[in-house]
């Protein structure tokens, strides 16, 4: 069975502070990992995926297979980063559905 765990419901930081949103997963093979973001009154949208190894809006995430983690990081938080963040996994067995974590609300205070 595949599972995604986001241990923090809420993360509150001040503007300019570093941010780390935690994500751990369980999966027996080699999964694809994603971060999705939902800004207030907007739809869920893809932020980044581990395969692309890119930085989007200053966010990065590294897949650590040893620790089965895919934490999302940003060195300097901005107020516009306030949103719900969901970590998601897709297995490599052909099933295309995503398995989501329960989400972390990031609040960036001025």
């Amino acid at each position: 069975a595949q599972r995604v765990t986001q241990p923090e419901k809420l993360l509150s930081v001040f503007k300019g502070a570093p941010v780390e949103l935690k994500c751990n997963y369980s999966y027996s093979g080699s999964p694809e990992l994603f971060w999705y973001v939902q800004y207030s009154r907007q739809r869920l949208q893809l932020l980044l995926r581990h395969i692309s190894r890119e930085s989007i809006k200053g966010f990065t995430a590294d897949l650590n297979k040893g620790e089965t983690s895919f934490h999302l990081k940003k060195p300097f938080a901005q107020e516009e980063d306030s949103a719900m963040y969901y970590c998601a996994l897709r297995g490599n067995t052909g099933r295309r559905a995503l398995t989501f974590g329960s989400g972390t609300r990031l609040q960036v205070q001025p």
Binding site: Q6, L98, F100, S102
Partner: protein, 117 residues
């Protein structure tokens, strides 16, 4: 339209009533997914279509839930004899199947918020 659309955006139903939720995927997208998102939780997979074929319905919670995509485009999720525990946001997502993983990105609709009284 540029994105996935869903209707209605809000639905209030009395317990025992049947409801139908519609999803219009992005034109040309082969794959279509339905997810259920309960309050305070992440989306949970319900069912998956490739064109008109329902290839995976392992996430449907009971036989009261039924989904179809008869012409491989618009999809309808039907819930019969709604119960209070069916109250959730129902999300639809579509993706374009390609040979490169980058084309497997799922684009989400705004969701339908169902409240069962």
């Amino acid at each position: 339209g540029a994105g996935v659309s869903q209707s209605p955006r809000y639905k209030v139903a009395k317990r025992g009533q049947d409801v139908a939720l519609r999803c219009d995927p992005i034109s040309g997208h082969v794959s279509l997914f339905w997810y259920q998102q309960a309050l305070g939780q992440g989306p949970e997979f319900l069912t998956y279509f490739q064109n008109e074929a329902q290839l995976d319905k392992s996430g449907l919670p009971s036989d009261r839930f039924f989904a179809e995509r008869p012409e491989g485009s618009v999809s309808t999720l039907k819930i019969q004899r709604t119960q209070q525990e069916d109250s959730a946001v129902y999300l639809c997502a579509s993706s374009l199947i390609g040979y490169r993983t980058v084309r497997h990105e799922q684009f989400f609709g705004p969701g339908t918020r169902l409240t069962v009284l």
